[in-house]
Symmetry: none
Subunit: 199 residues, 4 copies
């Protein structure tokens, strides 16, 4: 029961995820998902009543992936704080630049189309806040070690995150070049970097 059904659910979510990554949210039909899963029309309806529910399930399944990502991605390793932040930002930069925005586009379409009820609102904000927290901690560590200068680590972290968010949005709409991303990141970093470290 649970066994089989669970693995089927996993299969569906996995394949559906690929579809959402490829086509966004609005353009996805039950038929698309059915075909991606290699199951029958009725078979899919056995698990999810419509595209919306599939997407919400995909979002939910995404959370673990994300949660683990944020802090772990940043804090692991014996690198210096500066290097850790750089690594994190490299990651985000790649995300911004690559067409592979993962679910980002689908999420955006989903949330901006009013189909999102309340249930599905959390994951994205959770991810954002989790990243803010991670970066805040990094900056705090950096301030202690003398690598960074910040009167408000959380404020600076949050601004940085919003800039990244803005870069992502810009990248998704009108496209953005590596140079511009680098420039923005440098500019934001320069604010929390002791002027004497900057070379």
């Amino acid at each position: 029961m649970g066994e089989r059904a669970d693995s089927k659910r996993r299969l569906i979510l996995e394949r559906a995820r690929e579809v959402f990554v490829r086509k966004g949210y609005r353009a996805v039909t039950m038929k698309d998902i059915v075909e991606a899963c290699g199951i029958s029309r009725g078979g899919l309806y056995l698990y999810y009543p419509d595209v919306r529910e599939v997407f919400i399930a995909v979002l939910r399944a995404e959370q673990p992936r994300e949660n683990e990502a944020a802090l772990q991605r940043v804090l692991v390793g014996d690198a210096s704080v500066r290097e850790m932040l750089s690594l994190y930002l490299e990651d985000r930069k790649r995300e911004v630049l690559s067409g592979d925005r993962g679910l980002a586009r689908a999420e955006f379409e989903f949330f901006s189309s009013g189909e999102a009820g309340q249930e599905a609102v959390h994951p994205l904000r959770a991810r954002f806040e989790s990243d803010v927290l991670a970066v805040t901690q990094l900056i705090t560590l950096g301030v202690k070690s003398g690598e960074f200068v910040s009167e408000s680590p959380e404020g600076d972290a949050r601004s940085l995150m919003y800039v990244l968010e803005g870069l992502r949005a810009a990248g998704q709409t009108y496209g953005i070049g590596e140079a511009e991303v680098d420039r923005e990141i440098s500019h934001m970093l320069s604010r929390i970097t002791d002027t004497n470290q900057e070379k």
Copy 2:
């Protein structure tokens, strides 16, 4: 002929614009547009072959409106530079908080859905750059008048714009409160206002 056709085109674009504002891009059908315009199905096809072309035309018609907007919106008046920036930011804040993003949502859906060829890529970027320019000029003015402190007016303007972009994106997805918008804007402004900042 040209006369008549032009005014018909204008009518279509005007009504279609309202539809796009209301429903975004993907959800809009030729039928929606036809009904909004009060013309016949065939009549619409006489001017535009599909939704995409209507939208592109709407975008093009939008540009003048935008271009005029940015600088004018900011530089008009005999207020102090500081007040002018505040006014502009108030504007953007309202935009972020209200669901009414004008064509923004439709544009986003359009550009992020791969349906945009090359032809129409400009408008959003153009608007962004136009705003960057306006704010850069404001900051430069402010530096001259001693109201602002900035080593790189354009860099600071751009960062500010990206934060606004990020706030908008966040607002569109998981929602955002006035307090948070205020906090972000204040934080960014404090960089170019606080005399002690850079030293």
Copy 3:
């Protein structure tokens, strides 16, 4: 416009009527109607949004046919009152015995399935009352001419009608033979015919 649309509507109702006669109400699909009309799927939806509406329209179109029927069917001719009543009863008898109950079955399914709102409730009762009235008048005439004996023409007419209704119902469910119909009709008639009855 009206011209063309009206004739199309008439075509649809005519063909749909045949379908309802053949299959009743519940079993009829939009597809059935579409095929019976020889038009396209979308074409039907242009005129009626679902089976229910088609049926209601069929019912409405039926009324004139019916109204004209009742009295006319009975009172026309220069036959004696007795003969006129006999003719009418022959008619009903044929109706009871033949499987061809016209729309009766469909109407029954429609009204007994709760899908009938208020709008369409009238036709069946209207027809019944119209028939009651006709028969009442006949009996009254007969009493005057000395052919019939009745203390309450309307009461007798109504009872007769209910018996016919019962015969029809019986015929529709478990079937009924000509002999039984004849027997019932005779029995009811004997009440208003036999001079010795009431004494």
Copy 4:
């Protein structure tokens, strides 16, 4: 085996009966029955191959219930013949007026939809004839006791039954009020009631 199977069959028929009472015949799906029984899809198919067979089985199980009903309901008690007939008619009146027609609606749909083969035709006719018989006996008794006047007890019984059938049919389609039912019953009764008893 037989044991277990029989009780399972009984369970199914019991629950299925409720479904048919509620939804009629045509609207009932195997799924409805499965859910009402709380058994598995496959489980139901083990006993009945389709809705039709379930319904026929329900009908068959209904007969005992009915047969016992008619005569018993009427002849039991030490009331006068007149009172016994009144009781029976009260019963029927309630049946006509209440929306709760038991299986009547489903039966009607079943028989009038051509899905009834020959096998299942009996129950309804059997019930009708059984009622005719009971009322015939009552009238005969009444004639003997001087309470009723009838030249043909069976003929009068049968007419009365058809009127009841007609009332039921009318009630099911266009609705009928208590006054009208009373009026009809009185009218029919007045025929077999000695004029001098009518006060």
